[in-house]
Symmetry: C2
C-alpha cells in the first residue's frame, strides 16, 4: 500500500497541527476582540462625528497592538530567534539539502507558536501561511524524533526530506483548511524532483488535518459549516463571459512588480526600525476617528477580505440608503468621500504598512497581506468596470451584470501567485472561497501574473534566500 | 524562467488538443442526435404507452450504435491496433522507461481519434479520459518530432519523458476542461520521481488547452459559460454537517470491489464476444419502450450524469405532479415502478454493460462509466437517506435538508477514485461540477475509498499492466 508503516505518524501530525492551528486561531481571535471593544459603531453618518472618550479609545487602539508586538519580539528573541520571519525561505533551503542549525527544534517551535499568536492578535497586517509551514515542519521533525524511539524507520536521512515535505503540505492545509493547496505547495517548494509517494502521504495528512481543523471550528460554533473559510456567494449561474477577461489579464499583469523590492529592502535594514514604532505608527494611521475612516481602518484583516468578496457593487450603493445585509462592508462607504478614493487609499497605505509589518522581528508571513492587497486592487478594477458599464456587459444579446467581488477574488489570487511564483495560490484561493466558478479565469490570471513576474525578478522566497547568502 | 525555450511547443500542443477535443465532442454530439431522433417524449404517463412505429424506432436505436461500433473496430484494426483500449496502462509503462513499439505514432493518433469519435457517438457506456491521455501523448510526441527540425532541444531522451508528462496533463485538461486535475493526474501517473519543472509546464499547457476548449464551446453556443461541464447548482449556503459523513464514508468503502475483477476477466477473454453482439445486446436492453423504461435507458451518458446531479429529491416527487424545471430527470420517474428500483436496476444493468463495453476492441476509457456508476450509487444512498429523514437531519437546533444530488457527486468521486487509485479524481470531480462546497467530505470519501481499495487490489491500470506482461 502507498501509506506504509508511518500512517500513525501522519495521523498524529495531522491531529497535532489541527489542534495547534485551532488554538492559535482561537487565542488571536479573542485578542482581536480586545481591540474591537474600542471599535466604533459602523458608519452611519451620525456615529462618525460624535465620538465620546476619544482619547481612551485611541489609547486602547494604539497600546494594545504595541504591547503584543513587543511581547512577541522579546519572547522570540529570548527563546529562539530562528522563529522570526516567514520560514518558507529556510524550508526551501533545507529541502535543497543545506543544514540550517536549530531551525527545526522544539524550542523554535514554541517560540514561533507563541510569537505568531501574539503578532496575529495585534491586528497588524501580517500573514500566517509561511510561519505555519515552518511550524508544521518543526512539528513533523519533533514528532519523527519521538517516533524513532519505537521504530528505526524514522532515522534515515532519506526519510528526513519526506517528513519535511509532508510537513509543508500539512502546514498550508491546516492554516486555511485547504488540503489540496497544501499538497501543491509541497510540490512547488521542492527544488527539482518530487517523490510521488509524498503526494499521497501529504494528501492524506493534509486532508486529515484540515478536516479536524474545520470540525473543531464547527464544534466551537465559530462557523456553521466545515467547508470554506472566506465563503463567497456569487450567484451560481454567473455566466462569466469573454469580454471581462482583458480586465482579469490586466489585474494579473500590473499587480506584482514593486512589492518585492520594498519588502526586501526593508527586511534587511530593519534594525533601526523598532517594532513598537512600527506598530505605533500603523495603529495611529488606521485609527478610525482620524485617518482610518478614509480607508476602512476599523476592519481587521479577515473582515476586510470578507467584505471585499461580497456581492454588492459599492459605487452603486454609495450615497444611497444602506441595503439590508451589507454588514461589515459599510466600513468602506464613507459619507463624504468617494468609494474609489477610499479603496485607493486603502491600497496605498496598506501596501507600505504590510511591507513594514513583515520586517518586524516577529514570526510573520507575507501571503495574507499580499492576498489582501490583491483583493483591494481587484475590487478597485471591478468597481471601475462596474462604473463604466453600469448596466453590465452586453454579450450575445444577454446583459451580464459585473460583480466587483469576483474581480477581488481574481486579484487576490493573481497578486499572491505573482509574488510567491506559485500556482498553488489559485487553488488555495478557491478552496478558501469555496466557490470554483471562476476557476478558469483565475488560473489564466495567475499564469499571466507568473509569467510576467518570472521575467522580472525571482520570487519573494528566492530573493530572501539570495540576500541571506 | 520556468517555461524555457519550449513555450511554443506548449502553446501549440494546447491549441491542437483543444481543437481535437472540441471537434471530437462536436462530431460525437451530432452523432448522438441521430439516435435521439428516435427518442421518445419524456415520460408523461400517456406517452409511455402509446408508441407509434415502434419497430422502426427499435431498428434505429439498435442498428445505429452497431454500425458505429463496427466501423470503429474495423478502422482501428486496419490503421493501428495500438489505439484499442484506454491507453493509460501503456502510458504508465512507457513513463517507467519501457519502449513500446508503435504506440506513439501519427498513425495510432489518427486511428484513436477516429475510432474514439465513432465509439462515443454510439452512445454506449464507454469513457474518453484514458484515450484522451493517450491521444495527447501521441500528439505531443508527433509535435516534438516536428519541432526537432527547428531545434535540437527536442531530441534528447531526457526531454522525451517531459513531453509525455505534459501530454498526460493536457489530455485530461482538455477532456473535461479540468486543467488542475490534469496536472495532478500527470503526477500520479509518474512512477517514483516527478520533475518539478513539468509541474509548471503542465499547468501552463493544460490551462491553455482547457481555456481554448471552453471558449470554442461558448463560441459555438453549446454552453453559455466557460466555467464547468456538469455544473451543479446546490444552494450555496448548503451547510454540510457532520451527521451526513458516515453516509459518505459508506459510499467510499462499499463502492469499488467487484468492478476490477469483472473488467479484467472480460478484457482478456473478449475475442469471442464480438463488438456487434455487445452493442446489439446493450441497445436492445436499454430500448426505452421495453426494458429501458425501468432504468432511464433513453438518457445518453452525459444526460444521465446531469440528471443525477440535479437538486430534486426524486422519491418526494415520484407519483406527484412533475415540478417545473425537472427536465431530463423525468426519465427516472416511471409512473408505476418505485424510484429506488429504477436506480438499483440502472446500477446493476449499467455495471455489467460498462464492463463489457470497455472490452470491445475500440478506443475506450473506464473513467466515465465508473463515474456514472458511482453517481448512481451515491444517488441511491442519498434517496434512501432522504426517505429515512424526510424532513432533513436535525443538527444543533437547525434542520438541514438532505440533497441526494450531493451524494451523487460524492459517490462519483469516491468510486472513480477507488477504481483508478488516484486522488486527482476528486479534483476533476469538483472542476467538472464547478462547485467546491463539498470538497472536504469528497476528499475524505476519496481517501477512504482509496485506502480500502489499495488494501484489496492493485489499481485498474496496474492490473492491466500485470496481465499484459
Amino acid at each position: 500500500t502507498k501509506l506504509g508503516e508511518d500512517w500513525i505518524f501522519l495521523v498524529l501530525l495531522g491531529i497535532t497541527m489541527a489542534l495547534v492551528s485551532w488554538t492559535m486561531d482561537y487565542a488571536s481571535a479573542k485578542s482581536l476582540q480586545g481591540i474591537t471593544v474600542s471599535r466604533f459603531p459602523y458608519s452611519t453618518s451620525v456615529s462618525r462625528v460624535t465620538y465620546r472618550n476619544i482619547l481612551l479609545q485611541y489609547l486602547v487602539w494604539v497600546i494594545y497592538p504595541m504591547v503584543l508586538i513587543i511581547f512577541a519580539t522579546i519572547f522570540c528573541h529570548l527563546v529562539a530567534p530562528q522563529a522570526i520571519g516567514s520560514g518558507i525561505p529556510e524550508m526551501k533551503t533545507i529541502l535543497r539539502g543545506v543544514v540550517l542549525k536549530e531551525y527545526l527544534t522544539l524550542r523554535a517551535f514554541i517560540s514561533k507558536v507563541v510569537g505568531l499568536t501574539a503578532a496575529l492578535g495585534s491586528g497588524l497586517p501580517i500573514g500566517k501561511e509561511g510561519p505555519f509551514v515552518h511550524i508544521a515542519s518543526m512539528c513533523a521533525t519533533v514528532l519523527s524524533k519521538f517516533m524513532s524511539f519505537f521504530s528505526g524507520v524514522y532515522q534515515s536521512p532519506y526519510c528526513y526530506t519526506d517528513i519535511l515535505t509532508v510537513g509543508c503540505a500539512v502546514g498550508v492545509g491546516c492554516c486555511f483548511g485547504t488540503p489540496l493547496g497544501g499538497v501543491l505547495f509541497s510540490i512547488e517548494v521542492t527544488s527539482t524532483y518530487f517523490a510521488v509517494r509524498n503526494y499521497w502521504r501529504g494528501y492524506f495528512a493534509a486532508t486529515f488535518s484540515a478536516f479536524i481543523f474545520r470540525v473543531l471550528s464547527v464544534i466551537n460554533k465559530d462557523t456553521v459549516t466545515i467547508t470554506a473559510l472566506f465563503r463567497t456567494k456569487f450567484r451560481m449561474d454567473f455566466p462569466f463571459d469573454l469580454q471581462e477577461l482583458p480586465a482579469f489579464a490586466i489585474i494579473g499583469i500590473i499587480i506584482m512588480r514593486p512589492f518585492n523590492y520594498l519588502f526586501i529592502y526593508l527586511f534587511f535594514n530593519s534594525r533601526v526600525i523598532y517594532p513598537c514604532v512600527v506598530s505605533f505608527v500603523i495603529a495611529t494611521l488606521t485609527f478610525p476617528p482620524a485617518l482610518g475612516q478614509f480607508m476602512a481602518g476599523e476592519l481587521m484583516p479577515r473582515e476586510s477580505i470578507n467584505s471585499m468578496f461580497d456581492n454588492f457593487t459599492w459605487n452603486k450603493i454609495w450615497g444611497a440608503p444602506v441595503p439590508a445585509g451589507l454588514g461589515l462592508s459599510s466600513a468602506w462607504l464613507h459619507p463624504d468621500v468617494n468609494i474609489f478614493i477610499v479603496i485607493a487609499l486603502f491600497l496605498i497605505m496598506r501596501f507600505w504598512m504590510s511591507a513594514i509589518s513583515t520586517t518586524m522581528p516577529v514570526p510573520s508571513g507575507a501571503f495574507m497581506p499580499v492576498f489582501v492587497l490583491g483583493a483591494a486592487f481587484g475590487r478597485l478594477v471591478g468597481e471601475i468596470m462596474a462604473a463604466l458599464f453600469p448596466h453590465g456587459i452586453l454579450f450575445d444579446g444577454i446583459l451580464y451584470r459585473i460583480i466587483p467581488g469576483g474581480y477581488a477574488v481574481i486579484g487576490a489570487a493573481a497578486m499572491s501567485g505573482a509574488v510567491t511564483h506559485t500556482v498553488s495560490t489559485a487553488v488555495i484561493c478557491f478552496e478558501i472561497t469555496g466557490q470554483i466558478s471562476h476557476v478558469l479565469p483565475m488560473m489564466v490570471a495567475v499564469i499571466l501574473a507568473n509569467m510576467v513576474a518570472q521575467g522580472l525578478q525571482p520570487s519573494l522566497y528566492d530573493s530572501i534566500i539570495q540576500v541571506k547568502k
